[in-house]
């Protein structure tokens, strides 16, 4: 119970990330159907993305978008006007505090990972259709049996 309170609940995202990754890996290794292997691959990829997005979370933070966007040029002109004075002292009040926002860097990296994941899924499904056309099955054992019988003499 103490273990649950100290290590599972505060890091629940990471526990589920590991569980989902192992579910996906197990499916990719043991499933016989090629489409089922691809479902496992999708789950594996989203588990990794879940890990990276969980890194960027801060407690009490909001989405990384500035609500009050003030005019930068006016500020630069004002800083030029008081030349030589430390610029930080006079606009401390409207400075953006990064503690109030989730870290957007892992989000942006994972945006690329989602798109790459869908393109790998598309290529894998196209290869699966090609395999089905050649061997008449999507089951791994039937395909291996046909290859062993010299079924590479495909009806093309």
């Amino acid at each position: 119970m103490e273990f649950l309170k100290t290590s599972v609940i505060p890091h629940f995202n990471y526990w589920v990330y590991v569980i989902l990754m192992m579910i996906g890996l197990h499916a990719m290794i043991t499933k016989n159907n090629l489409i089922k292997k691809l479902v496992g691959m999708t789950i594996f990829q989203t588990a990794i993305i879940l890990f990276y997005v969980s890194i960027g979370v801060k407690s009490g933070s909001t989405i990384p978008i500035l609500e009050h966007h003030h005019d930068d040029h006016a500020e630069v002109a004002a800083a030029d006007a008081h030349h030589g004075e430390p610029a930080e002292s006079d606009h401390d009040s409207d400075a953006v505090n990064p503690d109030h926002f989730a870290n957007p860097l892992p989000h942006v990296l994972m945006l690329t990972a989602i798109v790459v994941g869908v393109s790998t899924l598309g290529v894998a499904l196209a290869v699966s259709q090609s395999i089905f056309k050649d061997f008449g099955s999507l089951e791994e054992d039937e395909i291996l049996e046909k290859i062993k019988q010299g079924g590479a003499a495909i009806d093309d």
Partner: protein
């Protein structure tokens, strides 16, 4: 981040992942994978990653489901496991 919401979504995520791998009908598996994608999209909106959330909703849940349905239409719907 809202912790109770987070925990509920994560539990449903594991359940849908297991069901989509256990079910023998591939079209059902694809549909449950779409449910999984929408749940993880909800999770990302809740964790503050709104850009990842709407990309997942459009690309992960939409396009990949369509790809898989097209493949199942051109091949076989039954799976041995």
């Amino acid at each position: 981040m809202i912790v109770p919401f987070d925990i509920i979504i994560l539990i449903f995520l594991v359940i849908t992942a297991v069901i989509s791998l256990r079910v023998r009908d591939l079209l059902s598996a694809t549909m449950i994978l779409g449910v999984y994608s929408f749940l993880i999209c909800l999770l990302w909106a809740e964790m503050g990653a709104v850009d990842v959330a709407f990309t997942e909703a459009a690309v992960g849940a939409g396009v990949s489901t369509v790809f898989m349905i097209a493949t199942i239409y051109h091949t076989r719907r039954r799976s041995s496991d």
